[in-house]
């Protein structure tokens, strides 16, 4: 029996395909978010996703259909709060994040019976991803990647120096909105891969690993995507053979690659 026999299972094929697309997407956006010190926005929005999913399960609506618009709206809310004077960006993320968690906990506590569903969203299970979810992941991932490609240079210039970009006539507010909305969509998609609790890891870890080894912005993006996708492949494989939870395994593989790249850089110095 071949080592890659496990890939003949259709659920494994679905997991690898959807996981690769979502991981690549997280890595691309993660580079922009980490460099702008906005990486915790992923964490904040994943907490909103928790509240939105609870709402969906409460009203018996497919959770993702509730989560997508609500998380996108929350991401714009964070931008609005940050623009308001006297509220710092991290505090704005904290406000929206706490609200999401509070609503989620409230709905879970007043309604019994859907806690098991919510558990699968909290910790993710890509091995249980459906065909429809795979298609949705692919379509949304390609759409988001195309939008990033279209606005690539504006995103890069604003990430490098927002004040300069604004002085050069770039609509930095619009660019910021595009970035957080794309992040919101990505966070909702990524919850199936690693779960709400670990979404921010998919945004942060491939980038910080790439930053240890890559030279130049394009190389960093490319390295982050490769690291993210390879982590998903290794994570899913280990999860299959060792019967480990897939989300946590993917994150631990990512972390291991980060440690290796960090040590490589230290030794190279």
């Amino acid at each position: 029996m071949s080592l890659f026999h496990f890939l003949s299972y259709s659920f494994m094929q679905r997991a690898v395909i959807a996981g690769s697309f979502i991981a690549a997407l997280c890595a691309i956006l993660g580079v922009f978010l980490v460099l702008r010190r906005l990486s915790l926005i992923g964490d904040g929005l994943s907490h909103v996703t928790f509240g939105a999913l609870a709402l969906g399960l409460f009203f018996k609506v497919t959770p993702i259909y509730v989560a997508l618009p609500l998380v996108v709206l929350s991401s714009l809310g964070i931008i609005k709060l940050t623009d308001a004077q006297r509220i710092y960006g991290d505090a704005a993320i904290g406000i929206v994040s706490a609200l999401g968690i509070a609503i989620g906990i409230l709905l879970v506590s007043i309604t019994k019976g859907f806690n098991i569903d919510l558990f699968s969203y909290l910790f993710g299970n890509i091995l249980a991803i459906t065909k429809a979810e795979v298609w949705m992941s692919i379509i949304l991932a390609i759409t988001v990647i195309m939008i990033v490609a279209f606005f690539y240079y504006d995103l890069v210039v604003v990430t490098f120096d927002e004040e300069c970009a604004q002085a050069e006539g770039i609509n930095t507010k619009a660019v910021n909105k595009i970035l957080v909305v794309l992040t919101a969509v990505t966070v909702v998609l990524a919850m199936k891969v690693v779960g709400i609790m670990l979404v921010s890891a998919l945004l942060i870890l491939p980038t910080v690993t790439a930053l240890q080894i890559a030279k130049g912005f394009r190389m960093t993006l490319l390295a982050a995507v490769i690291i993210a996708v390879v982590s998903v492949w290794i994570g899913i494989t280990l999860s299959f053979f060792l019967d480990w939870p897939s989300g946590a395994t993917i994150v631990l593989v990512n972390f291991t690659l980060f440690i290796i790249s960090y040590l490589y850089r230290k030794i190279k110095k």
Partner: protein, 259 residues
């Protein structure tokens, strides 16, 4: 008659109740080299940010390169170097070449691309700032002086008609600073770039700039360095001794007021 590059007309800027600039009016002709000086908190940075549209004035009007600021769209005709090198992320993983290319993107239509002509412009800017040898290095690996040169290359790569620099020499050692001023002079004289430069270094800028604009929430003085040294307004403002010290460093004017 000379072409007016910039006209600032009765501009007042307030941060909440605090008036930072009060009724500022001046014009800059094409090809001028203006040194903007003044004490800390005098509104120098606010003035250039207002010109660039980053700060909205309470009152007044600004005309840039013949167009009212509210209608001005060709921001790529202006090069800008902000006050602190820390305005950008020092750990950003871009190479020198990539950073300089950012200066060409503002005027482009979507989807933006770096063309073959842009590559030539990038090479020229790198050569002018004498940083071609480090073009493949990461910006984070450079010294403060080298980073400053990269940022100037970014500001000039689009061949701007007006170049605005906010305290560009703070990270530079004296030798590099002199070389930097010489490069600006070359840009001004050979390429006819109009320059507005904020600095605390009045003596040095006096050697290079054609005019000085002394700001302290309002304009205290606007004119040539020799006139600055001879101005009774400046004598009254600084006191005779301080004025003499400033002008003495310049070694130029022989007509410092001595009462």
């Amino acid at each position: 008659m000379s072409v007016i590059s910039l006209a600032v007309d009765r501009v007042t800027v307030k941060y909440q109740a605090n008036e930072v600039l009060s009724g500022i009016s001046f014009t800059v002709s094409a090809g001028d080299y203006i040194g903007i000086v003044g004490p800390n908190g005098s509104g120098k940075t606010t003035l250039v940010k207002t010109i660039l549209g980053l700060v909205s004035p309470e009152q007044g009007e600004i005309n840039i390169l013949g167009t009212r600021q509210s209608q001005f769209k060709n921001w790529q005709r202006i090069g800008y170097l902000p006050q602190k090198l820390t305005s950008f992320n020092p750990h950003f993983p871009a190479t020198v070449r990539e950073v300089v290319s950012f200066g060409l993107l503002a005027g482009k239509k979507f989807p933006k691309k770096i063309s073959r002509t842009d590559e030539v412009a990038i090479d020229k800017a790198l050569a002018l700032l004498e940083i071609r040898n480090i073009k493949h290095k990461l910006i984070s690996e450079l010294s403060g002086g080298q980073q400053q040169r990269v940022m100037v290359a970014r500001a000039i790569v689009g061949d701007p008609e007006l170049l605005i620099l906010d305290e560009p020499t703070t990270a530079l050692d004296p030798e590099t600073r002199e070389r930097f001023y010489a490069i600006l002079k070359e840009l001004n004289e050979k390429r006819k770039v109009t320059i507005l430069l904020i600095t605390h270094d009045i003596g040095t800028i006096g050697k290079y700039a054609a005019k000085m604009l002394y700001l302290d929430k309002k304009i205290i003085f606007y004119g040539g360095f020799d006139d600055f040294c001879a101005s009774p307004d400046i004598t009254e403002y600084f006191g005779e001794y301080a004025q003499h010290l400033i002008c003495h460093r310049h070694d130029g004017p022989k007509n410092v007021n001595k009462k």
